[in-house]
Amino acid sequence: MRLPLPAVPSTGCSDMSTASITVHSLTKSYGDLTALDSFDLAVEQGSIFGLLGPNGAGKTTLIRILTTLMRQSGGDASIEGLDTRHAGRAIRSMIGVVSQENSLDRYLTARENLELHARLHGMERRVYAPRIDELLALMGLSGRQKDFPDTFSGGMQRRLVIARALVHQPVVLFLDEPTTGLDPQSRRAVWEYIRSLAGSMTIFLTTHYLEEAEQLCDRIAIMDHGRLIAIGSTQELKDRLSGATVYEIEFTGEGADRYAGILGAMPCVLDIKRVDNKITVTLECWECLSEIVTALGGAPIRRISLQERTLEDVFISLTGEKVRE
């Protein structure tokens, strides 16, 4: 089932004066391909904002424009009130970026990686040395600071990249798929670090892990084909699917097949699926449940349970099930 696309989603920040990131009618084209199509967005200061979208939706293009690595074809984007087209250096001095690739220097030790980054930000040794000590301790890497990143696990490398992005105490932190390729333990450790930063800076996160967005983000935007298609808190996004209610009915013995036929013919049933002795029915609204119970009178039922909608349900309903190239 697909939800109709909202006509014009709100940009997500009620008071624009408190917005850390603002994007207005942002467009980016590569020849005939439009990667961003009149994209609007506002991210509140101090919040953790998640951007979701299938491959090729335009997430990386948006991040590259916001981090001043790329110029837009049209529209405006600003970070803390500074225009990305005209204040690149000033913006880069106040942002931290964790890119998809680790981009660590394998010929420098963990500490030297952070020191180089600090020097590129014009920090003096007396300022950056204690800051690096603090970050290495926070990321649990103090004991490995003289080792080369190649000898680190994927999770440790990721933590080092995050530490590097924090050396100069950024106001806005961009995290582009920060936990891709990590095992569940390392992923949760990275989540903890991100949570610990909440409130001290604005965090802009892209991820393919919907659980990650659900766990971390105050607000989530879903984009596809270069356009913003939904925005809100996790609950607000799930509520968009609340018009339809899904129940799972488990039968004790035979009969699932017969009752699937009966339920499938009812007008209030939007969708029905049967797997073994379980039927999953999607109802028009929860009020239809009484009709279902009546129709199932006398059936050998073990359990009827309401299925909670997940962020993934919302994502799939908005972006479709088709695999993107």
């Binding site: 880069r92 660590l104 010929y107 980054h117």
Partner: protein, 251 residues
Amino acid sequence: MLRGSLAIWQRDMLILRRSIISELVAVVAYPLTIYLAFGVGMQGYIGLVDGAPYSMFIAPGLITMTAVNAAYNESVWSLWFHRRVQFTIESYRVTPISVSEIVIAKILSGFTHGIIKGCVVGVVIFAITPFRFPLEHLVQYLLFLIPGSAFFSCAGVISGTVMDKPETIGKVEAVLVMPLIFMSGLFFPLSSYPPAVIPWVRALPTTAIFEGARRALVAGEMMPLAALQIWLSALLTFVAAVYIFRRKMSE
């Protein structure tokens, strides 16, 4: 303005310091082998070239070749590796430094590699061979070696910027860089070419480097036009390297 360049150059020098012994062994081995094989082994068959024993004739060229090769190789591979493999260029670009600062740092690093390695090969050749030159000739020689290394460092940056595949870099080196070096009077005098070809060969910046450097070091002779040619070539390739790198980064 060049804070970023300095930080990146210092990083590159730290890596060079760490691996200096293995780097120098590798860099000395090649010209020394050529010197022994051609300069000593072939000397009896070749006799005098331009009035000098063959080993004396090729020695300055080998020092110069080491310097420009080192400058080119450091720039091309470093830029390619940092751009395509390690993505460190990307991490530099999200800091408040300009793209020009990054490319200037890489040019400086290639240049420094060239000068250091050329000098080390010069010292080794001076130490273990009978090749000698008056020390006062060094100043004139450096007037060619410095822009020569800068020229090749900039050329390396251009190659490392525009080429995405390592095999292409290898092919360009084999088809363009090495022939330009070898055909510029490194192993034989330019008078060996047919008269009609000589003006074309002289027009090459590599000829200005090798011919000018040899005459400066051996005879203390200054070739102002050749010096001007190589300084101008270095300046032009520097401008081109910065422009091409900036364009590539904006893609």
